[in-house]
Symmetry: none
Subunit: 207 residues, 4 copies
């Protein structure tokens, strides 16, 4: 009947689903997968336990859904940032700015995502999920590396291994963002400062 639009019922369903995911995200990111019960999620989402199972096959799938959604969001937003118009330098600047915004606006997801997939090591809740998530992450790093490669060819960046350069930029930005977002003082993240530190000083733009 309707093509683009969802029926009101479908909209409501989607809304409920989102509410459950939000409640679960809040709890999982705060206490971790194993310390959150379905009962608890149900109470916070203001549904009965059974209702959760109407939307998600089991606890693991609910958890996985959150992480995959997060991974998709991060991947699509960061990918787009790297595909914008401009030279490689401005692309990387855009990437950083976008990443800062993304992290700032999605602290809970970020927290959960890094706890599960680990920037480095991690012990996954679900066998294979870790690998799946890391591959998302790796795709972004590779896209970033491709930008560095082109920038190196154009003599915008110093001639270093593009992949390690990308990895380095990513890990530094993660570290700084974690530092700012988690700190007890919790200063608003200063995008300009990051940009300045990475590019003008550390990151090797040819002068």
């Amino acid at each position: 009947m309707k093509k683009d639009k969802l029926t009101r019922k479908e909209q409501e369903q989607l809304q409920r689903r989102t509410e459950i995911l939000q409640a679960a995200l809040e709890l999982f990111s705060q206490k971790g997968y194993h310390n959150v019960s379905m009962q608890e999620i149900a109470v916070r989402a203001e549904f009965a336990v059974g209702t959760l199972y109407k939307f998600f096959k089991n606890k693991e799938e609910l958890y996985k859904e959150i992480l995959v959604q997060t991974a998709n969001l991060f991947y699509s937003v960061l990918s787009k940032a790297l595909e914008e118009e401009g030279d490689e330098y401005s692309k990387v600047k855009k990437y950083l700015k976008t990443k800062c915004k993304l992290f700032t606006e999605n602290i809970l997801s970020v927290r959960l995502y890094f706890a599960e997939s680990g920037a480095g090591f991690s012990i996954s809740v679900k066998r294979g999920l870790e690998t799946e998530l890391r591959s998302f992450y790796d795709q972004v790093v590779r896209k970033l590396a491709a930008v560095f490669e082109k920038g190196i060819q154009k003599k915008i960046f110093r001639p270093l291994s593009p992949y390690y350069l990308a990895l380095a930029l990513d890990s530094i930005s993660n570290a700084f963002l974690f530092c700012w977002l988690e700190g007890p003082d919790r200063h608003p993240v200063d995008t300009d400062l990051i940009e300045k530190i990475f590019f003008e000083q550390i990151y090797l733009v040819q002068r």
Copy 2:
């Protein structure tokens, strides 16, 4: 009564304790805190469950002990590396070399430590443990920052925020080590390569 030496009984006790910790480390680092039962640890350590409780108040304390021991080891080894003779440049080189060795030789501990305390975010098994471990980590970063500060004064390093410089070096070295230690290829970690990348190319030693 006894001053330096432990009685044979005390030695034996220490030995048992260590065996339990080792068994637990292997299991926790492989499967994660929540997927390892005390039963399982007992079997691997070749003791009865009850015996585990003679040495550790509960599962959480056993876990905590492993992490705190790891943190102590890392802290003491890395601190010492930074206190060796030489200028700031060679101190940082020594720090990196030591860290590579430390990680390579203690993969299990490293895996567990980063899964729990997170290079960045993490969701702790035990409330407060995360903070405690991060403070250990932070002490090392601060020591490294102090070295950078002195190096900057001596004009060995460029004039950047010493703390962020330390954080950056640390996060990059973590990222590279994770990459090497976890990679499916699992090349033996190339200390010289790290050194070269960090110092000659990225890390901005004044030339």
Copy 3:
């Protein structure tokens, strides 16, 4: 208002009811009461769950209805067979023939009926249902016994306890029918063979 005929609405209602009962019979007889959910029945009957509850107070009543209908069918059909014209010998022959046909044409009901009420022991889904069903069964046996009694008086049958004779005939015919209907070979049931075995050989018609 209406005397004999049902309004179209009532007819439709009856039709729906029958469809539900049929769907439930198929599922119950295949998987057993506890392994069939109302959801499942609803899907097979192509109604909503709620609709099932318009027709039957609850799952138990739906189940009970199937069994009671089956019991009624069996009772009425077998009773009628025993009431037909003829001597006692041909009555019993008729009874057997009818029973064979009844079982063959209603395997699902038979399966469910015997699983629930048990030829012998059984553990009922519903307290009291077992007893209720057995009383139906017992009525048939008593009717059969009455025929044997008369036949014994007429010297058609040997002078044995009519009730036990009836019980024996019934249990043997059940056993043979089960054997034939369930057997992996599943020969079409040979009515004549049964008749021959029961009457000419085992069942002791006076010669």
Copy 4:
């Protein structure tokens, strides 16, 4: 160390196991598999739920154990009865006597066994268990059939299909025993009466 005898500990374990099985038998035979919870069994056996799982992998295994034990008991006792000294006539008499005693002394097991494996149809709790149990039953029937076969050769019994003869005897004896054991009056089972009915009147001993 000990060869034949069990250590006291092992004896105690066996005792506990038996107590659990007994409690479970009582409940299962009364209310059926699906209407008995592990909690309930635990309470009746005066153990904690966890303890049940030390002895049996899960509810199904506990149930299966009861049935298989019963099947084994029935099979071994009835087989032995058929192997005793004597002609075929006395063997069958012995078989009947033994079966009466067996049923009388193990009403609960009998009730459960027939509810599950069904003398005829049944809907099994566990896929395959039904088949497994029926094969035990079938072995006994075949042994009995072999006795009939020999008896027929020796002209002790009338020349009928031995298998159907065995099936008939078994189903009649079941029916009578069920009748006596379940009846509200619950007369003590009259072995002699059964024997008399089967042999002298119905069962075709050549005269």
